[in-house]
């Protein structure tokens, strides 16, 4: 099987418009949460989110750097974030100017969990208030999930596989895993892979709040709301943004002297076959997904030093994932660290698995693991597990595991290691 390595990273997050700014803020224990600025949420059960900040903010995002004005107007923000992250990743890999021959073997697998919800909401209001003749001609292709991959392929002339995963909050991890397999199976030499989301709009916040998924007890202290594993956690905080990595066949990367961040060595996926929103009561789906990734990686549990958990800060989900991780790791639990960066940037839904995989890669690069913020009073089951409370921790990091679980009972796990 052909080996697959990571040679480029790109990101838009609530803590930065690029990878390094976000990582610096994550390691400094900053939170991207605040009162929702985009619309008046004062009458909503949940009034907070981790929004991507405007360009003039200390760690804001400037869409104009990589996305032309016309496209910004025509498409939903998740697509704009995705194009930015993909552009950054290609430049980082030194592949933003490939020959036609190379571009025939380069593709995209950038998905989203929900897609263009803000635009669906606003154009529905146009339809209701002004009639069908006022609906934007860009409505459909400005909201479709595969249009990040579409737009990026057009911008950079990438003629290889053009794909988009839609598996709710597992999207980003599945995208990377599936794309890695496309390279391993010789469908392509280079793949841009990741996920993006922007669903912080009235119907998005209302919908997730009605599903009892969002935190509602910390509206007056937004930075305290995302608190995975803490006894007072009460739901997730919605985030937004995008993460994209450049995956490349190992020999292809080596021949051109590319900087190699990590190798993707294990990918596991499973279905809970249990409930649309609640995880399996014994965490069996997550367990099987991690177990499959481990088996594929050829590593032993003792080799895995860091787990970036799904850890959304929901009462049920955190507990079940922790139980599954403890069951899998057994005695090896005492030597690994596990944290949830959702405590800092919220839950990026379809972007989560990609952004968090990038944090895993940076943990490998910098030999430091990011913290779980607000873990003031760990729940009882946390005993014996290093959940990296409050502050980042320097330690040996040889291999990393990222978990992402989604509505519908869909699970993905990725294992990467330094090369």
């Amino acid at each position: 099987m052909r080996r697959v390595v990571v040679t480029g990273l790109g990101m838009v997050s609530p803590l930065g418009g690029d990878v390094e700014t976000t990582w610096k803020n994550i390691l400094a224990s900053k939170s991207g949460a605040a009162t929702i600025a985009r619309f008046d949420a004062s009458e909503y059960k949940c009034r907070i989110a981790c929004e991507v900040k405007p360009a003039d903010h200390e760690y804001g995002y400037d869409p104009g750097l990589d996305v032309d004005h016309k496209i910004q107007r025509q498409v939903d923000p998740f697509i704009v974030y995705g194009i930015s992250a993909a552009s950054q990743a290609l430049r980082d890999a030194g592949l933003d100017n490939m020959s036609e021959e190379e571009r025939l073997r380069a593709g995209c697998s950038i998905g989203s969990g929900i897609g263009g919800l803000p635009g669906i909401e606003s154009e529905s209001l146009v339809l209701a208030n002004k009639g069908p003749g006022r609906v934007s001609p860009h409505f459909v292709h400005g909201r479709l999930i595969n249009l990040i991959s579409g737009q990026v392929s057009i911008k950079y002339g990438l003629m290889g596989p053009n794909h988009a995963v839609v598996t709710a909050c597992s999207t980003g991890a599945h995208s990377i895993g599936d794309a890695a397999r496309m390279i391993a199976m010789d469908d392509a030499d280079v793949m841009l892979a990741g996920g993006a989301e922007s669903a912080i709009c009235p119907i998005g916040i209302a919908g997730f709040a009605q599903a009892r998924a969002l935190s509602t007890a910390f509206n007056d202290q937004p930075e305290k709301a995302s608190r995975p594993y803490d006894v007072n956690r009460d739901g997730f905080v919605m985030g937004e943004g995008a993460g994209v990595v450049v995956l490349e066949e190992y020999e292809h990367a080596r021949k051109r002297g590319a900087h190699i961040y990590a190798e993707v060595i294990g990918y596991g996926l499973s279905g809970d076959a249990y409930h649309v929103t609640a995880p399996h009561p014994e965490g069996n789906g997550g367990y099987r997904s991690m177990e499959m990734a481990l088996r594929k990686s050829g590593l032993s549990l003792a080799d895995i030093d860091y787990v970036n958990a799904h850890g959304t800060s929901t009462p049920l989900g955190d507990e079940l994932e922790l139980g599954a991780v403890k069951r899998l790791f057994g005695d090896n639990i005492s030597t690994m660290s596990m944290s949830s960066t959702k405590s800092a940037i919220g839950h990026l839904l379809g972007g989560a698995g990609a952004v968090e995989s990038i944090f895993c890669i940076l943990a490998l690069r910098d030999q430091i693991v990011p913290p779980t913020l607000n873990l003031d009073e760990p729940s009882e089951s946390c005993a014996g597990v290093d959940l990296v409370p409050h502050v980042a921790k320097e330690r040996k990091v040889r291999a990393v595991l990222n978990n992402s679980f989604g509505f519908g009972g869909t699970n993905a796990s990725l294992i990467m290691k330094a090369i």
């Binding site: 032309d68 016309k70 003749g133 006022r134 001609p137 860009h138």
Partner: protein, 77 residues
């Protein structure tokens, strides 16, 4: 320059993201300003909103340049 021309040009600049100097009356939306057929549908909608006129599809198909748009709108006001 007429008031209609000013308002038309402003809409074109905003919607197509082009520099104002390029939006001359002779400029073709597709050949000179980088628009595609869907951009023209959107521009026509924006003209209808701005000027309170209705531009039927057969008339919209004949609007190829900035001047075509200005003339059509002036003829309906």
């Amino acid at each position: 320059m007429s008031e209609t021309a000013d308002r038309v040009k402003k809409i074109v600049v905003e919607h197509l993201g082009v520099e104002a100097e390029k939006v001359t009356e002779d400029a073709s939306f597709i050949d000179d300003l980088g628009a595609d057929s869907l951009d023209i549908v959107e521009l026509v909608m924006a003209f209808e909103e701005e000027f309170g006129v209705e531009i039927p599809d057969d008339a919209a198909e004949k609007i190829a340049t900035v001047k075509d748009a200005i003339d059509y709108i002036d003829s309906k006001q």
